[in-house]
């Protein structure tokens, strides 16, 4: 499945990627940021998506602007996470939506491409103390993804 996505640009620190969303609201610059959240017992980076907010420092976290291109934006984020995982094969990337609805949206996106994702990546759903293999139709608190280890 080859879904439409935007071309991402890697920033110099290798922890931020930017891309431009195009839609009825014009061109909106997006930023996908990876921040190290823990090093022990496993390395975990948190991923966030935001709009570059020109009036302030930083970005509007988790912004999915209503620019009519939600799926294309999320597909771009998925591609960026894949790039990051290849760059950091030992690390997990954690994703957690700001709300249950946002988590469900991520879940739908993952479910739609689960077979393809599982070919190269290990994807886990978080339920309390458990991080288990992702299954469709289960509501998770968050998600962990890592490049699959070669057998």
């Amino acid at each position: 499945m080859n879904l439409e996505s935007y071309e991402p640009h890697l920033t110099s620190n290798h922890l931020c990627y930017t891309f431009n969303s195009h839609g009825p609201r014009g061109e909106i610059q997006k930023v996908v940021t990876f921040r190290l959240f823990q090093t022990q017992p496993v390395v975990v980076y948190n991923v966030t998506l935001g709009d570059v907010n020109k009036s302030e420092i930083g970005f509007d976290e988790d912004a999915i602007s209503d620019n009519g291109d939600r799926d294309k934006v999320l597909q771009t984020v998925a591609n960026i996470v894949a790039l990051f995982c290849r760059r950091h094969p030992q690390a997990y990337v954690v994703a957690k939506g700001n709300s249950a609805a946002r988590n469900r949206l991520y879940q739908i996106m993952i479910s739609n491409r689960l077979a393809e994702i599982e070919d190269s990546y290990e994807i886990l759903g978080i339920l309390g103390p458990d991080a288990v293999a992702f299954q469709k139709n289960i509501n998770y608190e968050g998600f962990l993804v890592r490049l699959k280890r070669e057998k």
Binding site: F37, Q38, V42, N46, G58, I126, P129, D130, A131, K151
Partner: protein, 77 residues
Amino acid sequence: MKTKANPPKKSPSKAIVKKRRKKIYLNDVAWYYADDPADKRKTIEVVEMLKKIDFSILLERDRKAEAQSERGTTLSE
């Protein structure tokens, strides 16, 4: 007599002051910006979620996979 023109000095009021944002650390690496309540909420939520996870199961599985691949390599040699 010619005088050497000095470059105009920037008045202190016009100098660009880059505000350094204060970071609050929740562990040795995870931080949020003190002036960003949304960043604080999200960071605390995710760090708390990660703290609850029992990673020993994942580590054990990795160890087994590694041992298995080493055995496979030895057998094929």
